[in-house]
């Protein structure tokens, strides 16, 4: 018996409100970026979760360069992935839902590359930006063009389950049933 079936048996109202079993996808955006770079750049050097920008000012504390970078850990932003290819550093963000967030971050991340100690060796390389999303939206392509960001569509099979589960919440049918249940709860005084 699945957890949602068990809930439905104990609390019949849960059957009406249920959106179904939550897809077993943990860290979906981490999984999306990892599958993207492994699929699109086989045999090439890639990195995931790359901190950007200089170390923070540690004041009078005498720290080694490595210690200063470690102390800066909570403060340095991280780009989802970085790819080294033919004289180009490709900064990549992957987004499943908040496309605009990914788009907005990339130009800011690009501005930090020249001050990133770990990337000093490649500072003369051209820097490009790419946003990876599963499904196209006309407006994001217009915004990406204005921001100088490439859009690449990448939709692994598991994304459909994830979107279906998430989107059910916004359907008219689901919202109406939910409103009805909440109305009945109020009228019957059931909490």
């Amino acid at each position: 018996m699945t957890p949602s079936e068990r809930r439905g048996k104990l609390y019949p109202v849960a059957n009406i409100l249920s959106r179904g079993e939550k897809p077993k996808v943990s860290r979906p955006e981490t999984r999306l970026i990892a599958e993207y770079v492994a699929t699109k750049f086989p045999g090439q050097r890639v990195a995931m979760g790359v901190p950007l920008g200089p170390a923070i000012d540690t004041g009078p504390a005498r720290l080694t360069h490595g210690q200063a970078l470690a102390a800066s850990r909570p403060w340095r932003p991280e780009v989802d992935a970085l790819v080294w290819r033919d004289g180009v550093l490709l900064l990549i963000e992957a987004k499943i839902a908040n496309y605009v967030d990914g788009l907005a971050k990339l130009p800011l991340y690009k501005s930090l590359v020249v001050t990133t100690p770990e990337l000093a060796e490649w500072v003369s390389w051209e820097v490009r930006m790419r946003l990876v999303v599963p499904r196209a939206k006309a407006w994001i392509e217009l915004m990406a063009e204005a921001a100088g960001v490439e859009i690449d569509l990448f939709e692994p099979a598991w994304i459909s389950d994830y979107y279906d589960y998430r989107d059910r919440y916004w359907t008219k049918e689901y919202r109406e049933r939910r409103e009805e249940i909440l109305r009945l709860r109020r009228e019957l005084g059931v909490e």
Partner: protein, 106 residues
């Protein structure tokens, strides 16, 4: 005596690893906070090189984040063609990992 059978990832220090095999299984561990036994899923990777030296160790991955980053390379043991340079940053729930996949021999 230090047996040194497992790869440890010290904070902030990149560790270069080469994997030759992997398995995903359950392991019984004690919750460090509450002291009860629980069963967790673990991605175990067999390591034959660490920082360029031949070794016979395993890397046990319990972090969902690190497992997701390495997960894309598990299919058909694609990881055999790469060195992975893993840098752990932070501890506990705040742990993050930078994972670089570099084609073997570069």
């Amino acid at each position: 005596m230090v047996l040194d059978n497992y790869v440890t990832l010290p904070e902030g220090i990149p560790v270069r690893l080469h994997f030759v095999d992997h398995a995903i299984g359950d392991r019984d561990v004690m919750d460090p906070l509450l002291g009860f036994n629980k069963r967790i899923s673990v991605l175990t990777l067999v390591v034959d090189q660490q920082d360029g030296l031949a070794v016979s160790k395993v890397l046990s991955v319990t972090s969902q984040n690190l497992a997701a980053q390495l997960g894309a390379y598990l299919s058909e043991k694609v990881y055999r063609g790469y060195d992975f340079i893993i840098t752990r940053r932070g501890a506990g729930f705040n742990t993050k990992y930078t994972v670089m996949a570099e084609p073997k021999g570069r």
